[in-house]
């Protein structure tokens, strides 16, 4: 049997009458009661040290999970070897060389070479080669760390700076050289 709202009217009226009889005035406790209660609360509160120890000692991970996390952390530290900041750029000794790949796009060229201070400015230069006949010429050379000036020689006669070089400088002869900066390797 379901009760319709109008069926609840007598009960609601009775409840309302009961509510009206309740004393709704605020309750004021004697001060001695309040003091006694607070004193007991303070007595049961642990000291800062006890509470801190309890927090630290409270189990949050199972021993197995904690062990796995610790092992993973150690493994991560061993795998990651961040470069030790020295506070300055480092440059290797003159005895070390660094492989450098030089690339020059010249689809119509018959030959491309590179020359510079690293080649004693040999006018024939170091030849580049095309790998796929797509006009992309390249060569890999070993260079000591430092600044190097160079140019490409196209078809044996045309001297051209490197369009991909980060820098160009006046060569003192009215032309421009490309500048290659080879940073030193870190000593292992």
């Amino acid at each position: 049997m379901t009760l319709e709202p109008e069926d609840l009217s007598p009960e609601a009226e009775q409840l309302e009458r009961i509510m009206k009889t309740l004393d709704r005035r605020p309750v004021h406790l004697p001060s001695r009661v309040r003091s006694a209660v607070m004193a007991r609360v303070r007595a049961q509160q642990a000291s800062v040290w006890v509470r801190s120890w309890d927090w630290l000692a409270a189990p949050r991970l199972s021993p197995l999970a904690a062990g796995v996390a610790l092992a993973a952390s150690i493994a991560l530290l061993l795998l990651i070897r961040p470069e030790v900041p020295t506070g300055t750029p480092t440059e290797a000794t003159g005895s070390l060389t660094v492989p450098v790949r030089l690339v020059f796009l010249a689809p119509q060229a018959r030959s491309v070479a590179v020359t510079g201070d690293f080649a004693s400015w040999d006018p024939t230069g170091i030849p580049l080669a095309q790998s796929q006949g797509d006009g992309m010429w390249s060569v890999e050379i070993e260079l000591p760390p430092g600044l190097h000036h160079y140019v490409f020689i196209v078809n044996g006669t045309e001297w051209r700076p490197d369009p991909n070089a980060a820098s160009r400088v006046d060569d003192g002869f009215g032309q421009q050289n490309s500048v290659l900066l080879v940073p030193g390797r870190r000593a292992s």
Partner: protein
């Protein structure tokens, strides 16, 4: 790709490339450079370069003489910052290079004074010249490099900044914006100023 090693190249003597008259003139300059502890190999390379480029002899001698003066000035500048300290040839060359590209002597000196005497600066001087060539004010470029060095940024990353900056320059970014985007870490000289708080529209309506 075949790897070509410099060991197979060899270095020809000047006598093999220069005519006798030019050789005498260049030798005199090279000998002066050695006497002044100025890098001499760079001067010989400049002479060889002139020959390879088929430059008239008089112009070769003039270029070698000018380069000698540049290297001597750079050496004196670096020496003033660190009297008695050994100077690396690469550092002298890089400093002279930076000066030729428009870096004021004061900024070269300031950069040298900013770091310890034994700190090599060839990379820093080169990048300084690169940034100035790209339109960054010399003092601002220097401060950026100083902060990068103080932060321990590796030389390789510092050397890559000019090329990375070109990416922004190619799309029309101002030099400072392009530089800011190219840095491996934010640096104080280039940090954007704090955006001023926007006025509250409602405050205007209450007046």
């Amino acid at each position: 790709m075949a790897a070509a090693t410099l060991a197979a190249q060899g270095r020809p003597p000047l006598e093999a490339r220069l005519d006798p008259q030019t050789l005498v003139a260049v030798r005199a300059i090279v000998d002066s450079a050695r006497g002044d502890s100025v890098p001499s190999r760079v001067l010989e390379d400049k002479a060889l370069e002139g020959v390879a480029k088929r430059v008239p002899a008089a112009r070769i001698v003039a270029a070698v003489r000018q380069l000698f003066a540049d290297l001597r000035d750079a050496r004196a500048l670096l020496r003033s910052a660190a009297p008695g300290a050994p100077l690396a040839e690469g550092e002298i060359v890089a400093a002279a290079d930076a000066r030729r590209r428009g870096v004021p002597a004061a900024d070269v000196l300031a950069l040298r004074n900013h770091v310890a005497v034994a700190t090599p600066l060839a990379v820093a001087f080169t990048v300084l010249g690169d940034l100035v060539q790209r339109g960054v004010a010399a003092d601002q470029a220097r401060e950026v490099i100083e902060e990068l060095m103080s932060a321990g940024v590796p030389a390789q990353q510092v050397a890559e900044i000019p090329a990375r900056m070109d990416v922004g320059l190619r799309v029309g970014a101002p030099p400072l914006d392009a530089l800011r985007s190219a840095l491996p870490i934010p640096v104080r000289p280039l940090r954007r100023p704090p955006t001023p708080p926007k006025p509250n529209p409602s405050e205007g309506n209450l007046r």
